[in-house]
């Protein structure tokens, strides 16, 4: 039996900034090994896990969950060895102050994001947030040593193990989108006990945070009959009105909107109902800002759906979710895949 929660805790801790996902790919492949027939890394680093279905007319299904997390890069090394940074992916610089980080240089070094103490800041300064350009990283070494071990362009990731809160709540740095990788793994494990006709290509994608790039190229290569992206969405948070967020622990979220194929949406909703699983519906009036976006319009078009896991404090070091939503997202995906046959896929071209 796949130990999903343990794997999620492990995957979340692995460093993997956009464009530098190889460590995540290795962990993903280690976890997926027992449940798939084939595993490949493509030319730009997408991890493609293939599980074959049974029968002669097998639908080709692509799953996409991204491996990368938002990260920083060293932009300049300053006198006295402080590092100035740029970002790959959207941090809120307010949430970076005082964080512990890993600098992936010639060696992996621990560092902290420093700031001026309140005693030495003006009253005016204390009211302002500090822009990313003014943040610096302190790795506690003399400049000469910093220059030996760190180069401009080296990656920096948040250093934070997953914290288990009460019941099934977990908080960690890269739940976006390791939670979805875990849901994908749960799905692959579930499929070992179901009789699915479809060939499943579960893809750990690269560079989602900087423009959903890996999903686009992977989908071009695979040309599946249909695709499901899995990502995180905003969970209920104090100070944000409930109509903009989903309930944490309320079940996986199925997205509907113009970017989503209506028959895939309906099938996911029906499968959840048949399995007595609570799901939530989210409407995306336009783009979804997930891997689903580029996949839908590739080549002659690919029917695409989106399943999300509600999470709060997105793009901070303490992204918080309920593991039950992750597990149920995986089960929903597996039941959905098991329901697919050639007739259904043929029907998708009749919008």
């Amino acid at each position: 039996m796949f130990e999903g929660k343990e794997w999620l805790m492990r995957l979340s801790a692995v460093p993997g900034g956009s464009g530098d996902e190889s460590r995540v790919a290795a962990a993903l492949m280690e976890a997926a090994g027992p449940y798939v027939d084939e595993m490949t890394l493509d030319a730009i680093g997408n991890a493609i896990l293939t599980r074959r279905g049974s029968g002669s007319r097998r639908p080709r299904v692509m799953l996409a969950a991204h491996m990368d997390e938002i990260s920083l890069l060293v932009r300049a090394i300053e006198p006295r060895g402080f590092l100035r940074v740029s970002q790959a992916g959207g941090f809120d610089p307010r949430a970076l102050l005082g964080q512990e980080v890993l600098v992936h240089g010639r060696e992996t070094l621990r560092g902290i994001i420093g700031s001026k103490p309140p005693h030495l800041s003006s009253a005016e300064d204390r009211k302002k947030s500090i822009p990313l350009d003014d943040l610096f990283i302190d790795i506690g070494m003399p400049e000469e040593q910093v220059r030996k071990l760190v180069a401009v362009g080296d990656r920096i990731t948040i250093d934070k193990p997953v914290m288990a809160l009460l019941e099934e709540r977990l908080a960690g740095k890269a739940m976006d989108d390791r939670a979805s990788l875990t849901a994908m793994l749960i799905c692959l494990d579930e499929l070992t006990r179901l009789r699915a006709k479809a060939d499943v290509f579960a893809v750990g994608t690269v560079q989602e945070e900087i423009g959903c790039k890996g999903a686009q190229t992977a989908a071009f290569g695979l040309m599946p009959d249909l695709a499901v992206a899995i990502d995180v969405c905003h969970g209920e948070t104090p100070g944000i009105s409930d109509d903009r967020v989903q309930k944490i622990g309320g079940g996986p979220v199925i997205t509907f909107g113009p970017f989503i194929h209506p028959q895939l949406f309906a099938r996911l909703r029906d499968i959840a109902k048949d399995n007595r699983m609570d799901v939530q519906i989210e409407v995306a009036p336009g783009h979804t800002s997930t891997d689903a976006d580029p996949i839908g319009t590739l080549q002659a078009g690919i029917p695409t759906a989106l399943i999300s896991i509600p999470l709060r404090y997105m793009h901070t070091a303490v992204e918080t979710l309920d593991y039950a939503d992750v597990r149920n997202a995986g089960i929903l995906l597996a039941q959905f895949i098991a329901s697919l046959d050639a007739e259904f896929v043929e029907g998708l071209s009749c919008f």
Partner: protein
Amino acid sequence: MKELIRGLLTVSGGSGNEGGVAAAIKAQVSGVADEVFTDILGNLFAIKRPKGAGSGKTVMLIAPMDEPSVVITDIGENGYLRFEPLGRLQASALIGARVRVGRTGRLGVIGVESKADHAHLEFQHLFIDLRTADAASAAAYAQVGDTATFAYGMEELDDHTVIGHALGSRAACVVQIEAFKNANSSATIVAVFSSQAQVGSRGAQVAAYRIRPDLAVAIDISPTGDTPEAKRISLTLGGGAGIKALDRDMVVAPAIREQLSRAAVKAEITAQIEVSPQAHSEAGAVFLSREGIPTGGVAIPVRYADTLSQMADLRDMTACVQVLEAFLSDL
């Protein structure tokens, strides 16, 4: 190298109107290329195949041919021309600029309406003066849809520093020409001199799709951070060849960055890493082609990249050529 830059800067090459630049480059590379051709978007391809068996791999180099330009949108009764920008131009930087209509070679000057608010200047407040009496006589030199580029050419500041209005494109082309001429590789080298980079890397998209290389390197310029109150960018003029880690459109995988850095060590030249969140390059467009193309970048550090007086150091450009040569010879 200096004369090659000077020559290419005398040719006008606005986006979509790169034919003159392509012809000048073709004359440079034809002698060493196994094959030279253009495509429907105006990209120029030069192919050099390995001597002997080769590795069976294809590597694509790409450098942009087009420079920032303006397109004529209207010819007034009085003979003054109205225009819109093609590419990334600031209206305020163009007051008093000298332009040349690409098709006819006519010179003109950009003027500004006296009532325009300079803090919120838009292109509609500017006009081109060709010194013609009326619309009919202006029509002999310019038509709606013609592109005009800036008419400055190259100046030398000292024996290794050059200033030019379109180094953003032509310095990259010159580096690519030199590297292509000198290259010796077991891989097939395809040098793409691309069209329409300024208007969204359009040439790069179709070139990458056509060539489908195993690996690509985009050659471009990148702004330096070594001027007063500049943005915190570590590239310096004269600091050596830039090796791309990040720009606005691309994050380079560490393995490819390393491969280029090793080439710099092998060539015994100084290199610097480019992290330029504001700079554009064609690397991002190439990377996204088809199933995804592993892509890196070589950047020529340039001061005043957004102005009509871009400043480059020939030693940096030579270093870029040497990095590429070493990189290609190790494939």
